[in-house]
Symmetry: D2
Subunit: 286 residues, 4 copies
């Protein structure tokens, strides 16, 4: 975590000799000071991944100029790439239902600027947290979802997300499935926290499934949302030990502690452009 303003380049390209040299040479020629850099070669895929933080005031011009000058090299290397500026706050929409733990946790991190983001709004299928959210000065939208109103609800959610130009959507224990349209429109930008150690216990009531199977650890998984339920690329996971004396209700309680921590970690990685995806897998440059 750096205090000074910096630009982040996150990129991947087909592997070949000299990629680091070309990219860092380009930066060095401009006098760019590299604060942090990470590289990874996926041998199987023949693909190269990188993330580089450059101190903003070490460059003689702004990000737009840097972007323009870098583009030809990126093209030559056949790169997928993006550049971001630490001074531009990401806009993150939270979606919640009735459970409090992830919401309170994210609000606390936002309140203390540990998460230095904008939360343009919170969307929920219940009004449980309306007063709390509004007390924090954040708009709250109650969009009920019933079997009959599903289509309108889907549309309304997407309208609200579009309207605030969200960079990222966080399902902070939002207990509804999103529309395939929304999943497609925000691919790689919607994060969910699933309350099991995926791929175990996909779907509903994972703690009850875990209780039935008699596992000795339970977990939580932060992943990107895709149209296929609980199958998206995994960003972060963790587990907690349980034993025979723990009921499904106890597991729900223990699980909340890892859910909120895993979601917050995954979200931070995502917001800092530390997560690159390749197929259904992630490279996470922590």
């Amino acid at each position: 975590m750096h205090r000074d303003r910096f630009y982040t380049l996150a990129a991947s390209c087909p592997d070949q000799v000299g990629i680091i040299a070309k990219v860092t040479g380009f930066i060095a020629d401009l006098g760019g000071w590299i604060l942090e850099s990470s590289f990874h070669a996926d041998d199987t895929a023949g693909r190269y991944f990188m993330r580089i933080e450059i101190k903003a005031d070490s460059l003689p011009f702004l990000l737009s100029e840097f972007r323009a000058r870098f583009a030809p090299l990126a093209e030559a290397l056949q790169m997928d790439w993006k550049l971001s500026d630490s001074a531009v706050k990401k806009r993150v929409v939270l979606m919640v239902s009735k459970q409090e733990h992830c919401l309170y946790d994210l609000l606390a991190r936002w309140q203390s600027k540990e998460l230095d983001i904008e939360i343009p709004c919170v969307i929920s299928n219940h009004d449980t947290f309306k007063a709390l959210v509004e007390w924090h000065g954040i708009p709250f939208h109650h969009v009920p979802v019933t079997p009959e109103t599903k289509a309108q609800a889907y549309a309304e959610v997407q309208r609200l997300v579009d309207e605030v130009h969200a960079d990222t959507v966080v399902l902070a224990r939002y207990m509804q499935i999103l529309s395939p349209d929304l999943c497609a429109a925000y691919a790689g930008r919607i994060l969910n926290i699933h309350h099991s150690f995926l791929p175990s216990f996909v779907g509903a009531k994972p703690y009850h499934q875990a209780y039935e199977r008699g596992v000795k650890l339970i977990g939580a998984t932060c992943h990107y949302v895709t149209a296929e339920l609980d199958q998206g690329p995994i960003i972060e996971q963790d587990v907690i030990r349980i034993d025979h004396s723990d009921s499904p209700d106890d597991m729900v309680r223990y699980g909340k502690d890892i859910e909120k921590t895993v979601l917050a970690r995954g979200l931070r990685y995502h917001l800092e452009d530390r997560v690159l995806t390749h197929g259904n897998k992630t490279i996470v440059f922590r």
Copy 2:
């Protein structure tokens, strides 16, 4: 965790043959249904520890009558003992300074009744969280502490705690030292969260100490407060992995996640009478 009302006996006594038989025999003779029971013999100390949950409606009378009937046996066994009733909410005073993570975390658990307690007031040496606390409907007392006003501040804190008949005081990252009088008056009932893996890094700025020593894991410790700083009986601890790339500021950020979790776990153990102390050590019947 049981849904039905129950009474909890937490006790210790000199070890001898037949303790469990006598105590559980007494309960069985009254028709008492034992929900959960834990026993521990400390061979070195020659002392026996136990915790027993009895279903309230399995007994033919109330807790006061049970207490009166049990007293002679307790005396015969030279017991230190206490009985509590799951239907009587514990009264827990929170003390905070400027850091938000433990406070938000405890409020979330209280809001959702995961922590089924009363919070009669929050006391702070700063007014940072006045509005948040009051929004939750909880009285907030701002008691500034300066070198000159220390004595009055000590007295005022103790008056506030006494006034609400607190069962327990939680220092949720309260950055002042309590008066010896308060420590003595509430011995075994004041919990602190220290931001290191004690006994490493006692005192101020433990994360900076950890950074200097180059450790690979940092921790947090929930312990009872005694007059000697950071030396009280340890209730719960946990750690998180760091590496060379983490600055003291990063450690502060990571540390918050274990601090709040460790404090919440330790507090739960304490409130459910799962923590028995012996000298400077704890028996924790999880």
Copy 3:
């Protein structure tokens, strides 16, 4: 862990008022000194589980007499029960293939008497470890398994296990499936270590499956063997963190460290009669 000789009662029975009182009262009446005791009520199943260690020389007679006297109470309570004597070493047959880590680990624990057992023989479908095992003074049986000789091999393995009156069989990365007959004959006495966090990645090459799915933690599971592959009651599990830079080969290497630790822990729980089963689940009194 106690140094003095002791007897262990491990039992379960239908739940009712007064079970602990009756059992511990019986022991106390004989002057029996309880070293350690654990109890668990499974509310859903209405079943009660217990494990009690009694100091041998606190009883006025031997285990056989204790067993005879306890039988009527056990019958009255409709107990499944067993009694064991810490002075009688368990006889544990190890089965291995070509991987060394679990074998070396168990031999080291046996050599130092950390595992105070007899190993009457090691059985393997390869002769890789013949010299090492024999150097330790333990008979080694090479029983190759081919599609054509499967039936004879099954029979030979069972003969060898029967011949030494094994209490327990440990599949220490034995890469063959046991015959249904052997599974049935030694039900609840054959332990396997599976190299995944079950129920994820059942079957062959779990680390490759984990690599494909992109999980962030890999695990190992010690479980009782039943006729259905990787479906038996889970005794112990643990996980280790990996990341995108780890190949399946790296996972195999990391995994070995948790496999041997989880197997050793599970085996210790089993040998000390700390594991009670109920349906497909275990109660582990650690």
Copy 4:
């Protein structure tokens, strides 16, 4: 972990703009294929650290030529640097006393080539493991240490280590203090495993110290040996959970599992030149 032969550059130098570009540019100009690369800037120290793996057959000449050509750039950057060849096995002397766990563990990893090293000899102040070590085909030297013979023993150990041209010395629970001369001669090449989570519980009987303090986790620390006891740079640490029911003997037993794992991990990092030191701290490029 790569199968192909590769060269590893591990280096540090004063921080400035363009270091990565210069170093990787040099490599790229020779056609060098980078398999893995890690970089770290220590802002406080103003120092830059790196580790780069280059595929051997991507270079048009051998390591000696590469070394000669790289030297001028290294000098210009004021680098501390070393180059190693994955095809040259490191020579690792093990030193042990009477405890078996780390020795068996390292022998198992050596036997299976997981640790692809040479063990030119094992040195011990006891002859407990003479037969086991020799059975593996490794010379064993028994060098007793008594208060009277300390000086000769020190000299003999150093002679034995020198004689085999050891790259690294591993104190695998060797319970004697090394001579200051040996510590100085092999600075940064002697690894110890200390059975506590340093800096807690320096010195003798750390598990007994941990028991007295009532901690809830115990740990192990792999560190470089310096003349000051237990104060050298920390390479790796880990912890395991204990509770009130665990005696110091139990802790010793649990502790063995983390000691051997932490030592093996630290040793691997060291042997793969993943550990760079700066003052009393380590940079570990895992």
